[in-house]
């Protein structure tokens, strides 16, 4: 019997262990990383380097193949098939093998130690970005050794922003500097918009004050019972346009006067507007479906004009849908008007992509081709690369006026209008955006669909950078980050619950509960981290 028992214990242990294993991540085969601060192992350049000529012109080495991992599943992996990447391949003598994936795949790369040559990630706040020092080459070292021309094409402010201990490791696309904001080439993307036919029919309504807003929505409901009076972005990618975007519309400050973290969610002006939205919802003028619709459903509703008015966050991303509706119903097209404004007389402070940009590109310190890698960076950042990726071949696709403005050729226009597949696949216009920047996009009015021009004009004077508060959350894995995660989860529920609250009393109670939750989850410790991060940011920006 004893043996039978031990066999059973063994079986039980086996089952226990194997089921436990299922929940575990896989192991690491690679050796531990060597710190990259010592870059004496960078091989010498095989060509003469020069400050005034791009290195790719002097580098006569044979065709090099680089693996480029992009941490986004939607990225088009083709290389060398379309007109744009064909030209890149020819100029740089490089073949790029794109690999795409999500965080899980990225983690596997790190765990195995088998890194691709180039890595593009999307979150400057992630552990991956913050520990870039351990796995990426400093761009300065690469530029000094292989391609000093890089300094001519890279933005100094952006490089500064991405410095870790004195050296920059990543270079983002769409990184807007203070100078970009001033240049007028960066266009706003948020606006309160309304259907023109609705606006004409409802007469004089004031959407700028909370009271007027509630009344205006009721007026819309009366005249257009089939439309949903008020809509906003879907919640699948975050807190819709009812959080940051509304706060920007109200000009809610980003820091306190003494440059400390300011909780914009609890700003009294913003809370007043949330209460207005509550009243709109209670009157049936916000549909509950807006809280459950996914991105596709929202897009469909925009392109069919289901909403009479919208708090539109990122109109450029919804350009196709807005244009769709405008083309079919020119008389009802959406336009931006003054609405959702501060009750305290503050002007809107619309934001755009910040200095952190969007997708950040790195050169892995495991690459065997560091020279080629920095050449790719330099080429794509240069005027030549930017014009190519934004507009295609000069002459064939576009012409440039004396003032630098770009116009499509007839040939290009014809393809754009009649063969969108070829436009995207064969010519890949404006799609190779790993180093893209709005400054170039703005050279051509046609970069944006006509439907959003008026909206961009409406907000142009309200653009204001928010660089100080970029990436100020506590590091992942710390006690503060966990607490913040819990608070954000709670806020997500709270914000929608506030709008869906039955009456003012429930509204107040929900808000009070959230404030208590913040306190219970050590908000003061989190804010301390944020404060010190704001301070560090301001130092980088030269604002201290």
């Amino acid at each position: 019997m004893k043996q039978h028992k031990s066999l059973k214990i063994f079986t039980t242990a086996l089952v226990a262990l194997s089921s436990a294993v299922i929940l575990t991540a896989c192991g690491n085969g690679g050796s531990s990383d060597k710190s990259s601060s010592d870059n004496s192992n960078l091989p010498k350049a095989s060509y003469k380097i020069s400050k005034s000529t791009p290195a790719w012109k002097s580098d006569k080495s044979k065709m090099t193949t680089l693996t480029w991992y992009v941490n986004a599943d939607w990225w088009n992996k083709d290389f060398g098939k379309d007109e744009i990447t064909k030209q890149i391949k020819k100029d740089l003598n490089v073949n790029i093998k794109f690999v795409t994936g999500d965080d899980t795949k990225l983690n596997t790369y790190f765990a195995s130690g088998n890194m691709p040559d180039l890595v593009t990630i999307g979150d400057p706040n992630s552990k991956v970005a913050r520990t870039a020092k351990d796995w990426a080459y400093p761009l300065q070292d690469l530029a000094n050794k292989y391609d000093p021309y890089f300094y001519k094409v890279a933005s100094k402010d952006t490089l500064n922003w991405y410095k870790i201990d004195g050296k920059s490791y990543g270079y983002p696309n769409y990184s807007n500097t203070a100078a970009d904001y001033k240049s007028g080439k960066i266009l706003p993307r948020d606006a309160f918009i309304i259907r023109k036919d609705v606006l004409d029919a409802i007469g004089d309504q004031d959407f700028t004050t909370p009271e007027g807003f509630v009344k205006g929505m009721a007026a819309i409901k009366e005249k257009f019972p089939k439309l949903t009076p008020f809509g906003f972005n879907d919640f699948s990618g975050g807190n819709s346009s009812l959080e940051n975007v509304v706060q920007d519309m109200l000009g809610v400050p980003i820091t306190t006067k003494d440059n400390k973290y300011y909780d914009r969610d609890l700003d009294s002006d913003y809370i007043k507007w949330l209460d207005a939205f509550r009243q709109v919802h209670a009157a049936g003028n916000i549909t509950d479906d807006s809280f459950t619709d996914d991105a596709d459903t929202f897009n469909e509703k925009v392109s069919s004009g289901k909403y009479a008015t919208m708090m539109m966050g990122s109109d450029v991303n919804h350009g196709t849908n807005l244009q769709d509706f405008a083309s079919k119903n020119p008389k009802s097209a959406y336009i931006a008007i003054n609405g959702i404004q501060s009750t305290k007389g503050r002007k809107p402070t619309l934001s755009q992509a910040g200095i952190s940009g969007w997708l950040i590109n790195y050169v892995s310190n495991k690459t065997k081709h560091p020279a080629k890698a920095i050449q790719v960076f330099e080429y794509l950042l240069s005027d030549k690369g930017q014009m190519l990726t934004n507009f295609g071949q000069k002459g064939q696709m576009y012409t440039q006026d004396a003032d630098g403005m770009v116009k499509w050729t007839k040939f290009a226009k014809n393809i754009q209008d009649n063969d969108t597949t070829a436009w995207q696949k064969k010519y890949r216009i404006g799609e190779f955006i790993l180093f893209g920047h709005d400054r170039y996009k703005a050279l051509n009015k046609d970069s944006y669909v006509k439907a959003v021009w008026q909206m961009q004009e409406w907000g142009a004077k309200y653009l204001k950078p928010q660089f100080q508060i970029e990436n100020i959350s506590p590091n992942a894995g710390t006690q503060e980050a966990r607490a913040l995660g819990a608070i954000q989860t709670n806020w997500r529920t709270t914000m929608v619950s506030l709008i869906r609250a039955k009456d003012k009393a429930t509204f107040e109670a929900t808000l009070k509960k959230y404030k208590q939750f913040q306190k219970d989850n050590s908000i003061s410790a989190i804010n301390k981290v944020r404060d010190s991060n704001i301070k560090a940011n301001m130092k980088k920006l030269g604002m201290d």
């Binding site: 089952v15 552990k127 992942a476 995660g485 529920t493």
Partner: protein, 314 residues
């Protein structure tokens, strides 16, 4: 081998070796399986050490610093974790109860159908939802449950005027989650039972009929006892799966309003581990859950053994 237990250890080992040598051909056949298990099941156990370390994406498994039971201490005070445990048990318990009994009943009903074409149609229809992924089914459900969706239109038809978006209602989430899962899987669950039933000797039924047993009596005294071992196996498997909540379903159906009732352990681990990059903590949660699952498995095994004349499935 059973008789060896009274003898000394040395003799026992000797006996064991002799027995092994006698059947060495058979024993070698087991080897590949054991090796595969060591590689794929035992070596990765090393990864569990993550739960006791502070691991980050970029550090290697060996270089992450040890933090002892730190991660487990945090679990104890984590409101969202305990909420997810509650939801997991709640939803699973409802699913388990219905999904355990319903397939047995459906299987018996299908088995008793005499007209084959109709039987086939019923089977196909009940299997069908199983083949749709939760991504598709979830999207359908959200539309059906929305304010102008199918459900509200049906309710309006029968006179209950409503414009509620049901998926936003946290209190109905457990019902929605478990019933939709039952609808998806109940038909598929009958396959095992039908296969077992087809093996029951038809002469039993003939004899019972001659003795004047009614249909229900036949089901109760022949069909169910014949299926008892497969039923208890299914029970053990599903009880040990009490903590294995449906990740796909949750990710599709969860929204900001039903989250307090919708978040399950799996989605919580996914959110913390992958989207917030907190691997060590997520592993600690996973390890805790596995241990509880194993305990549940052993308990059910013991219980079914008692119920089943001391014959255990494991």
């Amino acid at each position: 081998m059973e008789k060896a237990n009274k003898r000394s250890t040395g003799v026992r080992i000797k006996d064991w070796c002799r027995a092994w040598a006698r059947q060495w051909q058979l024993q070698t056949m087991v080897l590949p399986g054991i090796i595969a298990m060591i590689i794929f099941n035992f070596i990765p156990i090393y990864g569990l050490s993550l739960a006791f370390r502070s691991y980050t994406v970029t550090s290697t498994m060996a270089s992450a610093p040890w933090v002892g039971l730190e991660n487990f201490k945090i679990i104890i005070n984590d409101k969202y974790f305990w909420e997810s445990v509650q939801n997991t048990i709640g939803i699973s318990a409802i699913k388990l109860t219905i999904e355990f009994f319903l397939p047995i009943i459906i299987a018996i009903m299908i088995f008793e159908l005499k007209w084959t074409p109709f039987k086939k149609v019923v089977q196909t229809i009940t299997y069908l939802p199983h083949f749709l992924s939760w991504i598709i089914l979830g999207g359908m459900l959200i539309t059906w449950l929305s304010s102008n969706g199918m459900l509200n239109q049906l309710l309006n038809l029968i006179g209950i005027a409503t414009k509620d978006n049901h998926i936003l209602n946290a209190n109905s989430y457990w019902g929605i989650a478990s019933l939709s899962d039952v609808w998806k899987e109940a038909g598929w669950g009958t396959i095992l039972y039908l296969a077992t039933m087809s093996k029951i000797d038809p002469t039993y039924y003939e004899a019972a009929e001659m003795d004047g047993a009614s249909k229900l009596r036949q089901i109760w005294s022949i069909t169910i006892p014949e299926m008892s071992s497969i039923i208890s196996l299914n029970l053990i498997l599903s009880v040990s799966g009490l903590f294995n909540s449906n990740l796909d379903q949750t990710l599709v159906l969860m929204n900001s309003q039903n989250q307090p009732k919708a978040e399950v352990i799996n989605s919580y681990v996914y959110r913390v581990g992958l989207t917030q990059g907190d691997f060590s903590y997520a592993t600690a949660v996973g390890l805790g859950v596995s241990i509880i699952s194993v305990v549940l498995l052993i308990i059910t095994n013991t219980v079914t053994k008692k119920l089943n004349d001391n014959k255990s499935v494991l």
